[in-house]
């Protein structure tokens, strides 16, 4: 062990012991994007004010939340004996109780207690026993969640951080041995392509150039996936350590972490981690006093989904429009600034230190034959408890649905939308029997993607959902391939027409042609964009035919606007007055004491059914109802600002039955 690491570790251990066994009790606030959304900032201010006003001997600190996102704001109290208790759904009214708890004056456990994180108390169960965590076998990627302050490098080092790096540098482990260990572990690219990481590194290692680049892809654009954010916000150093190990295994000397701008806290914490690592001699020249040199910096993205594709990401880094290009040449030959480059996902890099530390056979304890280890999944949709979990590959989807509290609002499980808008859409009959294994998804022509699992209830119409996804893909197309930008425009038009009630028999064939054309796009964005549509046509054929041919839509909160009608079923319900007041377009009128809804004005926003659910019912009776005209979005937002208004001629603005733009408040609306 190098002297340098030894002294770093000694300092860190001393600090961490003090922190985990503090003199004064300490209240740690879970501080991540989710808890900020849940209002942790106000709570922190209130707590601090009380502690200051009453002159209490209680310290405060920051921690990454334990991953129970649905229970945010989370806080932890660590007593001087080293016990740590986790509390969730904390509100301002809990402050006095929690202060008493910190002072040891509380007799009975509070009902906001989630469990013991560290140490033992007779009256409390450990957090591992929490029902939400029953599928998690062992936290490996999340091992530091709740146990370190992510902004403190010493905490990471004290929990064996940078040990793997120090070990390979000290023992002189060759690049080949590192790559073999990673290949043996079965680690496969966690971005969703599942290419073996060790083999990918081999390509870069063999490139003979002076400058070689490592890029960490943290442009996690898939809506519904946020696993990379969790790692960056809870354990940023594990990514840095993984990248330095990768650098030594591939002879790379420059690294970039490309983080999407939607994650400002992750950017802040990663920057702090990089600065601290430089200060401790872990980054820069002579990493940990070895011969290895590695420089690392952050590139902040700017809101382009397709930059998550590796060649798009590389173009974006080197000062250009982030447009993907044809491969080959592969990045290992020509990447950032046309030098050999390797792009890996955040989770892949974060898995490296533990594999080196514990060995490949340890890593393979979990998983299935085709893919090993654990994987983070972010789970959302029509479920009770949205959040993240670290699950072994092979976990059953029906078990996941059980621990997240099942489908909410007494509706039933209709479909699983996994892995973002390019990945897939499977009906419950298939999804219930699936395990989280990429091959099993492939059997049904779907992809598991990067870890987002969105559970869809039968309140949602698959056609409308398809429209929303195809519009997303259209909007985010870089525009290089006509097949992609044009194909997705056509696909969007078809779905938009169906959802307005204009579905035709030949649409099935049209969609098939579009799907086949899209396959000729140059990058995965275009190639995979018809996946959800194809799943829908194949696996939801009845529903597709109902919306297209029979003009009956089964959706409620997400339904085809042209196939639904709102009916007043109880004229004497007093809540109808509220509905009349709330209607943003004045579609509800009271004439001669009788309420009426004009469906030609109604934008189907659902505000009235929300306020008067017993008086206004939504029906779909096989008839088509006219919807207010929308101008379709043909240009992305910024671009539109740059073109003069007059040149914005759209197909719909020149058809006769459309209102002229600006004529009424509604006419300018887009139907994304």
């Amino acid at each position: 062990m190098s002297q340098s690491y030894f002294s770093l570790k000694a300092t860190a251990d001393a600090q961490y012991t003090l922190w985990s066994h503090p003199d004064n009790p300490r209240i740690d606030f879970a501080y991540d994007t989710s808890s900020i959304a849940a209002g942790i900032d106000d709570l922190v201010d209130e707590f601090k004010a009380v502690i200051k006003n009453e002159n209490l001997h209680i310290d405060t600190g920051m921690i990454a939340g334990y991953g129970l996102q649905w229970a945010n704001p989370l806080i932890q109290i660590t007593s001087s004996d080293g016990t740590t208790v986790l509390y969730g759904n904390v509100t301002k009214s809990d402050i006095s109780d929690l202060i008493k708890e910190a002072q040891g004056l509380n007799r009975n456990p509070l009902d906001i207690t989630l469990g013991m994180l560290h140490g033992q108390r007779n009256d409390l169960v450990t957090i591992e026993k929490h029902p939400y965590l029953q599928l998690e076998k062992e936290r490996r990627l999340l091992r530091n969640l709740g146990f370190i302050d992510p902004a403190n490098i010493d905490h990471y080092i004290a929990r064996d951080g940078y040990l793997a790096l120090s070990d390979i540098l000290e023992r002189g482990i060759t690049d080949e041995e590192i790559r073999k260990e990673i290949t043996d572990s079965g680690l496969a690219g966690r971005g969703g392509a599942f290419f073996p990481t060790g083999i990918k590194w081999g390509f870069l290692s063999s490139a003979d150039k002076e400058n070689k680049y490592l890029v960490c892809n943290a442009d996690e654009g898939d809506p519904g996936s946020w696993v990379n954010r969790i790692i960056m916000e809870s354990d940023p150093h594990t990514i840095i350590e993984g990248m330095i190990i990768a650098a030594s295994a591939t002879y790379s000397n420059i690294g970039y972490i490309y983080i999407r701008s939607e994650y400002p806290l992750a950017i802040k914490l990663m920057q702090k981690a990089i600065d601290d690592a430089y200060a401790k001699g872990i980054l820069g020249n002579a990493v940990l006093e070895s011969k290895l040199n590695f420089d690392l910096r952050i590139i902040k993205g700017a809101g382009a989904y397709v930059c998550g594709e590796e060649t798009g990401l590389i173009a974006s880094i080197q000062d250009s429009r982030g447009m993907p290009r044809i491969k080959p040449p592969f990045p290992a030959n020509s990447g950032v600034f046309f030098e050999p480059t390797n792009v890996n996902n955040v989770e892949s890099f974060a898995s490296i230190p533990m594999i080196i530390r514990n060995g490949s056979s340890w890593y393979k304890e979990y998983g299935v034959d085709s893919i090993s280890g654990t994987k983070l999944f972010s789970i959302s949709g029509d479920i009770k408890y949205a959040g993240i979990m670290e699950l072994p590959w092979g976990t059953k989807i029906k078990d996941v649905l059980k621990v997240v509290g099942g489908i909410s609002n007494s509706s039933s499980f209709k479909a699983l939308q996994a892995g973002g808008p390019l990945a897939g859409y499977l009906p419950s009959s298939i999804a219930e029997n699936l395990e989280l294994v990429p091959e099993q998804f492939k059997e049904h022509n779907a992809l598991i993607g990067s870890g987002g699992l969105v559970f869809v209830s039968d309140n949602t119409c698959s056609i409308q959902l398809n429209l929303l996804f195809s519009q997303f893909v259209e909007d985010e197309s870089c525009g290089r391939c006509t097949t992609c930008h044009g194909g997705n425009q056509r696909m969007t038009e078809v779905f938009k027409r169906i959802s307005k009630g204009g579905g035709r028999k030949e649409d099935m064939r049209n969609l098939d042609i579009i799907a086949n054309t899209l396959l000729y796009s140059n990058c995965v964005h275009g190639q995979a964009s018809p996946t959800i549509m194809k799943n829908t046509v194949d696996l939801f054929a009845d529903e597709y035919n109902n919306c297209t041919i029979n003009k009956v839509c089964s959706g409620s909160t997400c339904a085809c606007p042209g196939l639904i009608k709102l009916m007043i079923v109880d004229q004497f319900n007093p809540k109808l007055n509220d509905a009349l007041q709330i209607c943003p377009v004045g579609a509800i009128k009271k004439i001669n004491g009788k309420f009426d809804i004009n469906m030609q004005d109604c934008i189907r926003c659902g505000a009235c059914t929300e306020l008067a659910p017993d008086a206004i019912k939504q029906i779909s009776d096989g008839n088509v109802y006219e919807t207010p005209s929308f101008i379709p979005r043909l240009f992305s937002e910024n671009f539109k600002n740059l073109i003069p208004e007059t040149s914005l001629i759209t197909p719909e603005s020149i058809t006769t039955n459309t209102k002229i733009r600006g004529e009424k408040s509604l006419s300018g609306m887009q139907n994304l």
């Binding site: 880094i317 959302s380 029509d382």
Partner: protein
């Protein structure tokens, strides 16, 4: 926000940046963070500083959804377009708010100074459906709540 949009202050901001060093996005972010938007002059200065043609800078900047080319409005309502929000009638929330203001996505209004723009999922789906008002999350929305919020903003409350 700095209103002193002149060449010296921009150059000072861009001082540590160099050509051929992956600094373009950083330059554009720095200017937008400080001045709120990217002006034509700012793009010219960036090009000069990073040895890129103005057309290249402009072409890159307009590719990304984050950048604005005119001063931002007082209130930006970010509408979350993620799947968890869409399943819970996110479309209804969007259309209702747009209807209250009589606007469309990404269009900047003067009176009141407001814009509803499309925002991307950042994984706070336990709050769905949600919007951001000047980057502060307003979660667990309903359409009627969204309409009330929009009307309050419209009336200057």
């Amino acid at each position: 926000m700095n209103n002193n949009y002149n060449k010296d202050s921009i150059l000072k901001l861009l001082d540590p940046l160099t050509p051929d060093n992956a600094d373009l996005l950083e330059a554009l972010h720095l200017i937008q963070e400080n001045f709120g938007y990217l002006s034509k002059e700012a793009l010219e200065i960036v090009g000069e500083k990073l040895s890129l043609s103005v057309a290249h800078v402009y072409g890159s900047a307009t590719y990304y959804a984050d950048f604005r080319f005119e001063p931002p409005p007082e209130t930006i309502i970010g509408w979350c377009s993620g799947p968890a929000c869409l399943l819970k009638n996110g479309i209804g929330i969007r259309d209702a708010m747009l209807a209250v203001f009589g606007t469309e996505l990404g269009q900047q209004l003067d009176n009141p100074s407001v814009e509803i723009s499309m925002a991307q999922c950042n994984g706070t789906c336990e709050q769905s459906p949600q919007i951001w008002i000047n980057e502060k999350v307003v979660g667990k929305l309903s359409v009627s709540k969204a309409i009330t919020i929009a009307r309050d903003i419209k009336e200057g409350k």
